[in-house]
């Protein structure tokens, strides 16, 4: 239990740093939000128009909304929690910065996974939940 608390505290520190870093450059943050919004909107349009033209097996339109909502939840929670940390792995290995991660007294996989989420993805994640409930 003590270990879990410690890891949650570490996660919280990294999350706050990530949030501050992202909000420091407001315009970059808003373009990120706009990108997520466009991605969500395009997906909604594609499924909407597809369901007007064809049938996808036994799946009704409402069921497809739930599926799409779950798609947003799964992928955007991944982007929110893990994305930035994971894409840094190759660069850190290439330039030797990975040494610092190896020296940290915490679980390596956990450390690499929390190096920074992309906070603007939270909005699409929340939208996924709303779409699932609405469906």
């Amino acid at each position: 239990m003590k270990k879990i608390k410690r890891y949650l505290a570490i996660y919280w520190v990294y999350f706050r740093v990530s949030l501050v870093r992202e909000l420091t450059f407001r315009f970059s943050f808003f373009t990120g939000v706009a990108g997520s919004f466009v991605f969500v909107a395009l997906n909604l349009f594609i499924i909407y128009f597809l369901m007007q033209k064809i049938t996808l097996g036994r799946w009704t339109e409402k069921e497809m909304w739930v599926l799409l909502g779950n798609f947003f939840i799964v992928y955007y929670s991944f982007f929110f929690f893990f994305w930035r940390g994971l894409i840094w792995i190759p660069r850190n290995i290439r330039d030797g910065r990975f040494d610092y991660s190896l020296l940290m007294p915490i679980d390596l996989q956990f450390l690499l996974s929390i190096l920074g989420g992309a906070v603007h993805n939270l909005l699409a994640f929340i939208f996924g939940i709303v779409l699932t409930i609405w469906g």
Binding site: L67, L68, I87, P90
Partner: protein, 129 residues
């Protein structure tokens, strides 16, 4: 769930939430598995983008892909299952216990396997700094 007229109880919502969390961890583990190749080959920056190209399969239900050739099915089924199984748990009138159990145990085995592979791969790391 007013639109689908479902009476969902905690016995259905909780497995759905668990399966969504497990799906996310499955995808995360898949990315970690491929990122582990970096330790062997030194630098594979585009490997994450490569795996993201397959996310389109997750946007459609499993049944849609059943007519695909086997070599495509191998890729399409796992990606589609990530979203189809949590959806089926939510929309089916009776809780699909066995698919849920198979999905859960298979996923946990995969996550464990990836963790082992990752730590094995780290041993191949040699600092260039």
């Amino acid at each position: 769930m007013n639109n689908l007229q479902l009476n969902l109880g905690i016995a259905q919502i909780l497995p759905a939430i668990i399966s969504l969390i497990v799906s996310t961890l499955d995808f995360y583990s898949l990315v970690i598995l491929l990122q582990s190749l970096n330790f062997r080959f030194g630098y594979l920056e585009e490997i994450t983008n490569f795996i993201l190209s397959f996310q389109d399969f997750s946007r459609y239900p499993l049944d849609v892909f059943m007519s695909l050739p086997v070599y495509l099915l191998i890729i399409a089924v796992p990606f589609s299952a990530l979203t189809t199984i949590p959806t089926i748990i939510l929309i089916e009138k009776t809780f699909p216990f066995w698919p849920f159990l198979i999905f859960l145990s298979g996923s946990l085995a995969f996550i464990y396997f990836v963790r082992k592979v990752f730590y094995r791969a780290v041993r191949d790391y040699s600092s260039s700094g």
